[in-house]
């Protein structure tokens, strides 16, 4: 019943928003690629939207369109928001890059914010998170906690962001146990609980006792719990789904960024720029370390502090590529361009990257 009331309230709320198109309110629009209820990527962006609503109250109003397919439909959805008077629009998936730029050209007085892309213009900013910083930490935890010395990694698609995560995880793990092994399964989807669950079972069956994922559903963690192994939450805190299995979670936290950018538009100081924030900027947040012995917890907290302060960079040399060639020498870190387009594995990953 509470659910139904909540639903009715949500509708009443959105109704209340529409007629109140007071001229001086800043309208902020959001385009999501998934349903807001995915409990992963789009859900976290929507949390960011709610945060600015809470922070700015009457000064702004927000609208969102969910489940916008990456492709020709995206352009219309973005344009519609612009036409309905949104002056700041967040397009929250990589595939919205070209449509965002096209619409931005037609609406020069509207500010656009595109997540995870690399093309900017005068009124298009880009922003993304250094999720890999969190991956390094969970890699260390995995190597400490694993008895078999093998972890399973459920990947969505072999794009640089995911590959970067795999490498950071592996580097973290190797800093604890140089012989650590990693098995990778690609499920070709960001969100397919059935397949993610099957992948988790297969990986556990092949000896992995730590499951980590770069897909958005809670299914792998639930399987981990069922089979008595451990795993990590992805994008949001998934503790409620697997209280015995989750060791920590890498949480995408867009709230502070969205608040800053909205403030900038309100103040008239908005500029097109590229933001790539991590633990330090609080765009990546680690969930509570749970189900861990004290010494491992302490190690994780120390690593987190070092990455936050900049004392430790996950991609610090020396790093050897899978084929044995040197990626970076001692004392250097992987260049930003190479990080952005990463398409190689570090040594020790038991998978071949599709080229």
């Amino acid at each position: 019943m509470k659910k139904i009331l909540g639903f009715a309230a949500a509708i009443a709320l959105s109704l209340a928003i529409v007629p109140a198109s007071a001229a001086d309110k800043l309208k902020v629009g959001f385009i999501y690629v998934g349903p807001v209820g995915d409990h992963g990527w789009s859900y976290q962006h929507d949390q960011g939207r709610k945060a600015i609503e809470e922070k700015f109250g009457d000064q702004i109003e927000t609208t969102y369109v969910e489940k916008v397919a990456e492709g020709p439909d995206a352009e219309r959805a973005i344009e519609r928001l612009a036409r309905k008077g949104s002056k700041l629009i967040f397009t929250t998936s990589f595939g919205f890059m070209e449509p965002t730029l096209k619409v931005a050209k037609r609406f020069p007085d509207v500010k656009f914010e595109h997540a995870t892309g690399y093309k900017r213009s005068d009124n298009v900013s880009t922003y993304s998170s250094r999720f890999y910083e969190g991956r390094y930490i969970i890699g260390q935890i995995a190597a400490k906690q694993s008895k078999s010395g093998v972890a399973g990694y459920i990947g969505s698609f072999p794009i640089p962001e995911v590959v970067r995560g795999i490498n950071a995880f592996m580097l973290g793990a190797q800093s604890v146990n140089p012989d650590f092994k990693l098995k990778v399964v690609w499920v070709n989807s960001w969100f397919d609980p059935g397949k993610e669950a099957d992948a988790a079972k297969v990986l556990i069956g092949q000896g992995a006792d730590i499951i980590t994922q770069h897909t958005d559903s809670t299914a792998p963690l639930q399987i981990a719990q069922e089979q008595g192994v451990h795993g990590f939450g992805q994008a949001s805190n998934m503790y409620a789904f697997a209280e015995k299995a989750q060791l920590t979670a890498i949480i995408d936290d867009w709230a502070s960024y969205y608040v800053n950018r909205t403030q900038a538009v309100l103040d008239g100081t908005w500029k097109s720029e590229d933001t790539w924030g991590g633990l330090n900027e609080k765009m990546v947040v680690m969930a509570d370390y749970t189900n861990l012995p004290d010494d491992v917890k302490k190690m994780a907290e120390e690593t987190e502090a070092k990455i936050t302060s900049g004392d430790l960079h996950p991609f610090q040399g020396p790093i050897t590529k899978q084929d044995g060639s040197v990626a970076v020498k001692e004392g250097e870190t992987v260049a930003v361009g190479d990080l952005l387009g990463m398409n190689w594995y570090v040594q020790g990953v038991d998978d071949q990257l599709p080229q």
């Binding site: 059935g194 079972k201 297969v202």
Partner: protein, 306 residues
């Protein structure tokens, strides 16, 4: 738990929803009705099952609700195709579209909630037998149900009078009508049995496979179930073989990946579909296998003359 055992358990979980949905469709098709709405009925079963289990905290009530959800949708289909004599193919497609949309609407407030997991019913002593114990005697009630349904439908279809009536309605509705059987009523019942099984299969997805509700969580399994019915040449026991084979191919695709051979994952992911097509071709091309068992009136509309 050793690796082989783990793989077998995973295959059983992956195959059970296919088996449940396909066995219902098999009976429906035996009565001469082609219901392409399996996917829609399944997804309705999934959402109703999840919603009821979440609200009451009892997965068995969830199973019941899943069955009812599937039956409700199949009843729609029966009214249209039997009473209003609409085209079965088109109506089935409409059923799928409606089921996917409606389930999304119903399930909107249940997305992202931790579900109620259907527990294993381990049979005392037997389930502790090494290796085969957990496989044969440590499953949940729906796995046992799926096995029971295979033997049950085989018995009913081929050993009882009811089965004889169903088959004669499916093979020649005109002569069945002439003999005094109520063709429409028999078909109504078989369609709704199919709906119940699809609903059961959906409930398995949202209560046992991955205890949560997600839109479109059936992900094409209903269509695979339809293909399995053709593969089985309308025989329940062959259906079981087909379902477990398909489940095995599906899991092996992931298994091979985890071994790290570097085959593009897209090719491995498409393997089950390729195998399904090949299986269809082999079975359909073999006239001796199909001719005997194919319900001759499948997909044809029957309007009784008065």
């Amino acid at each position: 738990m050793d690796a082989t055992q783990a793989v077998i358990l995973t295959i059983i979980t992956a195959s059970t929803p296919l088996l449940l949905a396909a066995i219902g469709e098999l009976v429906t098709e035996r009565s001469g009705v082609l219901n392409l709405g399996v996917e829609g009925m399944m997804v309705m079963g999934a959402v109703c099952g999840f919603a009821a289990a979440y609200t009451t905290g009892n997965p068995y009530i969830g199973i019941l609700a899943g069955v009812l959800g599937g039956v409700a949708l199949s009843f729609f289909f029966a009214i249209l195709t039997q009473t209003l004599a609409t085209n079965q193919v088109a109506t089935g497609l409409a059923l799928t579209l409606l089921g996917l949309g409606l389930s999304g609407l119903i399930g909107e407030s249940f997305v992202g909630l931790p579900g109620v997991k259907l527990q294993q019913l381990s049979i005392p002593f037997l389930s502790t037998i090494p290796f085969i114990g957990p496989i044969l005697f440590g499953q949940d009630i729906l796995v046992y149900t799926s096995i029971a349904l295979i033997f049950g439908t085989t018995y009913v279809l081929f050993k009882t009078r009811i089965g004889l009536i169903i088959r004669s309605v499916g093979d020649n509705h005109n002569s069945a009508h002439a003999l005094g059987y109520n063709v429409i009523a028999v078909r109504y019942a078989c369609i709704m049995f199919g709906g119940a099984c699809s609903g059961l299969s959906g409930a398995y997805l949202s209560l046992a496979y991955t205890p949560q509700w997600i839109e479109n969580m059936t992900a094409g399994r209903g269509w695979v179930a339809l293909a399995l019915v053709v593969f089985s040449t309308w025989l329940p026991k062959r259906l079981a073989i087909g379902a477990y084979l398909f489940g095995a191919v599906w899991i092996m695709g992931l298994y091979v990946q985890a071994l790290g051979f570097g085959i593009p994952s897209q090719f491995l992911s498409s393997l089950p579909y390729v195998v399904t097509i090949i299986a269809l071709v082999i079975i359909s091309g073999n006239k001796t296998l199909t001719r005997v068992n194919t319900p001759a009136c499948i997909g044809q509309t029957f309007v009784p003359d008065r």
